[in-house]
Amino acid sequence: DVKVTQSSRYLVKRTGEKVFLECVQDMDHENMFWYRQDPGLGLRLIYFSYDVKMKEKGDIPEGYSVSREKKERFSLILESASTNQTSMYLCASSRQTEAFFGQGTRLTVV
């Protein structure tokens, strides 16, 4: 079974903190994605990566950055967390035709 593991299920951080969300996949997939999910807005793509050290901006990259130093790991970084970044964050990986998702990290910024 493909496994996509997000490091935390729930996180609470303070405004202005630097936050790291980690995602690891075990199927040697080239593509990895970070989305945020908000009620009524669906899943919005923040960043994706199609290879090690390669990244592309999605639809809402402002306030975020990413890192992919190894193929299996894709990190999302909130440089200075703000309350409007309170959301559910979903990581996914895919080779070509199907994406597999982690369980999500519910981040609350206070």
Partner: protein, 115 residues
Amino acid sequence: AQSVTQLDSQVPVFEEAPVELRCNYSSSVSVYLFWYVQYPNQGLQLLLKYLSGSTLVKGINGFEAEFNKSQTSFHLRKPSVHISDTAEYFCAVSGNAGGYNKLIFGAGTRLAVHP
């Protein structure tokens, strides 16, 4: 650029009734199309996908979808729903643009099945 529009944000339906969840997409390249389901407090699970070939695609839990290229639609159907089908459903499109596949989702449709 690719985009996905799910035409209904909420669909209430009685148990054992048929249901259709509507999805339209736009893309300048050939696409793959997907429906995912998210049960409460869970991650996303693939229901079905269209890659090529037959335009009628069957998925898990009795769901099916039809790809209509001329109408750029990929509507999801089930002839008889159960209470356990209550969930949020997401339509997604993936197309090869610039050498990589970007996966874009719609806003979701919340299916509520009532007894």
